[in-house]
């Protein structure tokens, strides 16, 4: 049976055979972000893969992460392609660098997770909030329930963190 869910009116269906993604989204549904860790070289990876991108070994185990990170880059969508996003403009696509494994295995590598800026309850951020964050803003995981026991990893401003002034696109 495929895992069936729904996000912003879009159907989600994760096939029986797609074991890594079933695990990824149901583990996120349990409240914590988990990533695959290679059983040979120990390195974490994102997104889900069928072997280790760093050493090619097939074996992995799931490891929980802190769910904390900082915005590494972003873009702000003002013209949507997908109709379901029309009601949420502008929305922000974030590239969040997780606190774990920064600069490994190589100097400029990192676990950079794609997501949206959301409110603490998981709704896409309103414009004022979108305009307040930028590169460097500390964020925390918000697992957004999408049904079927699954959650989508989304990101909210981390209220507990010390926030420096973020870098924003210069032409506002």
């Amino acid at each position: 049976m495929a895992l069936i869910g729904e996000h912003l009116g879009m159907a989600v269906a994760i096939d029986d055979l797609d074991t890594p993604n079933r695990e990824f989204y149901t583990r996120c549904g349990s409240g914590m972000l988990h990533l695959q860790a290679c059983t040979a070289c120990e390195l974490l990876r994102y997104p889900t893969t069928t072997a280790c991108p760093w050493c090619s070994a097939p074996g992995y185990e799931w490891r929980p992460l802190s769910g904390k990170g900082a915005i590494y880059s972003y873009c702000e969508v003002h013209h949507p392609i997908q109709p379901v996003f029309r009601a949420h403009l502008p929305y922000q696509i974030l590239l969040v660098q997780l606190d774990e494994q920064i600069g490994a295995p190589n100097e400029h590598d990192g676990l950079r997770v794609t997501g949206n800026l959301v409110t603490p309850d998981g709704e896409l951020a309103p414009e004022a909030l979108v305009r307040s964050v930028g590169i460097g803003t500390r964020v925390r995981l918000v697992p957004k329930d999408i049904g079927g026991g699954m959650a989508l990893p989304q990101w909210a401003v981390d209220e507990t963190a010390e926030q420096a002034k973020p870098w924003r696109y210069p032409q506002e």
Partner: protein
């Protein structure tokens, strides 16, 4: 000329040096660049291939190889060959976008060298405006359930090329202080070039201020930072230099190719850094070594302009300037016709039309023939009498063009490139 030593590495180029200068592009064909072609991709492709064969001075019977690329939005070689009565000894249709033309030119030299066929037509046909738009609209998969890779992109409203690449562009501004105005010069300069290209879809000149005042699509990309979407078919014909001598035009000799060279994480280009570095940083070590020339030798570039930013990143990563100084390079005027190294003299994808790269190769072939199809008068010998007056509506021929480079882009993680020289 000397091989480049920029970021010299111990990478040994993979193509045998003896292929350098052994093959050439002898024919180019186009349909024109429209919105609303009123024709199928099959009809557009047929026209482009037929035009290219005629341009080369070849006959249908001379073509025995065919290569094409598409994104599940077009017609295969079998249909075009069938319609034109071409019997093929070799053909292949592959999935791909902006990193395909140059790679397929390299593949054509390989299959000819291997004895599989003698003369190869490479085409791309697309109704990129009136049928399947690259941004994702008009494609039925846009409404299918999120599963697999789509969960890591489309679920977050990251569906189009702009939305996928923009984090790399934004980070470049953060890391290097690149400004919106610097990058906007790419569009302004390409629009000047397009104003001298009667075929261009957008012939109107625009300024840096126009770009910055255009509405935001996906910050940092304004509307005018993004390429045009058009309907068109295009074709180039590759054969051996020996056979090229019997063709109509001065051949564009293939010096070197790098094909679909990639960064470490082909599946997710933001995991392997720096994310502001594109595949060109790897590709350059093969391209320049294979070609036997370096960026300092190149007179005309065709740096892929799906977006203003892609042109800048490609020029940086192939070593036309130092990493991080792309903003200075593209705003310095060096890329403008009449200056040291014009880029996309047709107006490129930002202005002429969107072809997934092949039209930029065609433009450089025409530059090397020193017979670009601008509005200059045609003389008694049937050739254009180029004035080298680059004002609006004027000439777009580069004086004494002898050496060009095309820098193709698929995503930040994959690129292809081609160096061509004017033959005799």
């Amino acid at each position: 000329m000397n091989a480049t030593d920029i970021n010299a590495t111990d990478i040994e180029a993979t193509a045998p040096k003896h292929l350098r200068g052994k093959y050439a592009i002898v024919g180019v064909g186009e349909t024109g660049y429209t919105r609303g072609s009123g024709a199928t991709t099959r009809a557009l492709g047929t026209t482009a291939v037929r035009n290219a064969i005629a341009d080369a001075g070849l006959t249908i019977a001379d073509i025995d190889g065919m290569l094409s690329y598409n994104g599940n939005d077009s017609v295969p070689s079998t249909a075009i060959a069938g319609d034109l009565g071409i019997r093929l000894n070799f053909y292949m249709d592959c999935h791909g976008g902006g990193s395909s033309t140059e790679a397929l030119v390299g593949m054509a030299t390989g299959v000819i060298e291997a004895g599989l066929c003698k003369t190869v037509a490479i085409f791309r046909s697309m109704n990129g405006y009136s049928q399947v738009r690259v941004g994702g609209t008009g494609r039925s998969t846009g409404r299918s359930a999120l599963s697999g890779d789509a969960l890591f992109g489309r679920a977050f409203g990251q569906a189009s090329a702009a939305q996928s690449f923009a984090p790399a562009f934004m980070r470049h501004m953060y890391e290097y202080g690149t400004t919106p105005a610097q990058v906007a010069h790419v569009k302004a300069i390409h629009s000047e070039h397009a104003s001298n290209n009667p075929k261009a879809y957008y012939k109107q000149r625009v300024t840096v201020e126009d770009v910055l005042a255009s509405r935001m699509i996906c910050k940092p990309l304004h509307l005018l930072d993004c390429c045009v979407e058009t309907d068109n078919g295009n074709c180039v014909i590759v054969t051996s230099l020996d056979r090229a001598k019997d063709c109509r035009h001065v051949p564009a000799v293939i010096l070197g190719v790098v094909g679909r060279c990639s960064k470490p994480r082909l599946d997710s280009y933001y995991q392997a850094g720096p994310i502001t570095t594109a595949a060109g940083a790897y590709a350059k070590d093969i391209l320049w070594a294979n070609s036997g020339v370096g960026p300092e030798d190149i007179q005309v570039t065709g740096a892929y302009d799906a977006f203003t930013f892609t042109t800048m990143l490609q020029l940086e990563d192939y070593g036309f300037c130092k990493k991080g100084e792309g903003g200075d390079y593209v705003s310095s005027g060096v890329m403008r016709l009449g200056n040291a190294r014009p880029n996309n003299t047709s107006g490129g994808h930002l202005c002429e039309g969107y072809t997934h790269g092949i039209a930029m190769v065609i433009e450089n072939i025409r530059q090397l023939r020193q017979d670009v199809d601008d509005s200059c008068p045609i003389g008694a010998n049937g050739r254009r009498q180029h004035t080298f007056d680059y004002s609006e509506g004027g000439c777009r021929q580069v004086r004494n063009a002898e050496l060009t480079a095309n820098l193709g882009w698929a995503t930040p993680t994959t690129g292809s490139a081609l160096v061509m020289a004017r033959g005799v």
